[in-house]
């Protein structure tokens, strides 16, 4: 690992002013950043430890929502009674990600900012536009079984690995950001992540020097929430496809629906197309199939990952059927 200097500020304002230094990066749980630093994929010259900033609390909001501090670790968020009862899709997504040890360390802000990545991103002998802009994409025409089927580009077909962010996408979470001038802005999670386009090294709309201070969960949407993850092994594995769904029914008709996919794109993928195909229609398999077709209408396989398109359709149908049954 390359040398770096280290500091641990005690307040957020000091942290955001410290990060303006060239080569500086925030570190929180470190579970993704240190992994990448060991491989010389990330090489900050200065680390600002934000893990002890007073941002670990989960607070009630006056409108019935919750504010999750950016430093709250994944296991604490998953185990929070308010999250478990009011936002079960988030708790389910969190416990389906990583391992017990990693969830005890990984922060909420760090989970959002983990790199969108693929095995070629890790392989420093291979071309990768995300790691080394302009060096090409080795996954296109390479071994691409786990790669994106929606929103990919000729420059990058990597997927965002977070489960948490998929649930937050279905919950329309907002990300709270603090900049060096001390001003705060909020970005809805669907606008927070970028598609790869021709700049796959840019993954979010985070501006240089901005710090994630919290995540705002609006009041829970009506209906039953469900997260389903499909993967190559039963535990401790990234999703091939995952679905976060919220479905509300009235007299057998779907009154409200939210659908987000994981494992299919460079970002957590909100499917407004699927939602439009569900709302106002009967809660039955024919409707779910229409929604699944709508969700994957623009999907493009890369060869090895062609199966993901059908897998995503089926996973959505099954998740919707299960959610609607008990909503």
């Amino acid at each position: 690992m390359r040398p770096f200097t280290y500091e641990r500020p005690t307040d957020a304002r000091t942290a955001v002013s410290a990060v303006s230094r060239s080569g500086a990066k925030f570190i929180s749980g470190g579970t993704n950043l240190l992994d990448l630093m060991k491989l010389d994929i990330e090489h900050p010259s200065h680390l600002i430890d934000i893990s002890r900033l007073p941002m670990r609390d989960i607070e009630e909001l006056p409108d019935g929502g919750l504010r999750i501090g950016a430093q709250a670790v994944n296991s604490d968020v998953a185990a929070d009674d308010r999250v478990r009862t009011r936002y079960p899709v988030l708790s389910q997504a969190l416990v389906s990600g990583a391992s017990g040890q990693l969830r005890n360390k990984a922060s909420t802000g760090g989970n959002l900012l983990q790199r969108t990545r693929c095995p070629y991103f890790y392989d420093t002998a291979a071309g990768c536009n995300k790691r080394d802009p302009g060096s090409g994409c080795s996954a296109i025409g390479g071994f691409n079984r786990i790669h994106a089927v929606l929103g990919a580009s000729d420059a990058c077909i990597a997927t965002h690995p977070s489960d948490m962010a998929v649930a937050m996408t279905a919950l329309e979470a907002e990300i709270e950001l603090l900049d060096a001038e001390g001003s705060v802005r909020r970005v809805v999670i669907t606008d927070f992540y970028r598609l790869p386009g021709d700049t796959p090294h840019l993954e979010t709309v985070l501006r240089p020097g901005e710090l994630i201070t919290g995540v705002i969960l609006p009041p829970p949407p009506p209906g039953r929430q469900l997260y389903r993850k499909v993967r190559d092994r039963a535990s401790y594995e990234f999703a091939l496809v995952s679905v976060a769904a919220v479905v509300s029914t009235e007299r057998g008709m779907i009154s409200e629906a939210r659908v987000a996919f994981g494992g299919v794109a460079h970002k957590p993928w909100r499917s407004f197309e699927a939602e439009a195909a569900l709302i106002g229609r009967p809660a039955e398999m024919a409707t779910y199939r229409d929604a699944a077709r709508a969700a994957m209408r623009d999907a493009v396989g890369q060869g090895h990952n062609d199966f993901k398109i059908e897998l995503a359709r089926r996973t959505l149908c099954r998740t919707l059927a299960q959610a609607a049954r008990s909503s």
Binding site: G29, A78, Y236
Partner: protein
Amino acid sequence: MSEPDTGGGERQAGAAPLSAVELRVNDQVRRLELDPRTSLLDALREHLRLSGTKKGCDHGQCGACTVLVNGRRINSCLTLAVMHEGDEVVTIEGLGAPDDLHPMQRAFVECDGFQCGYCTPGQICSAVGMLAEVRAGSPSHATAEVASSRISLTDEEIRERMSGNICRCAAYPNIVAAIRGIAEGGAA
């Protein structure tokens, strides 16, 4: 050695200045002067000579380096020692000794929960941390209803909760048996 331990191995050119850190390891205060790059794992093994904690993959994938920090299990390879100022670290050496085994260590011996033994310290630290999580009512992916705080520690729950610890010898059935025995006995 009377001077602060700056760590085995040569310092690389261009290395950052050393950082002072004070850890409480197995109930002892330990002061170290470390290159900021030093992982908690390397601080334990190379600087404090606590070699019970193992380095497997060094990337958080295998769990051999699992220790308890402030009572919670983490991968010591994926965290910097300097980030743990004042923290309480418990390693396998702090859980028990050959003549005074921790109940979980004894259960692993009695159930034959290992073959080569390399993953075992991490398995045991992880199991102790895992049972504390269950007692606190934390849900897992195997918990049918996340909203319920009543967790029945089935074999499926144990396997899911221990998935961050790989055993290349595949002693899993006996590891599960050891943990189940302790969970049912109420110790650890």
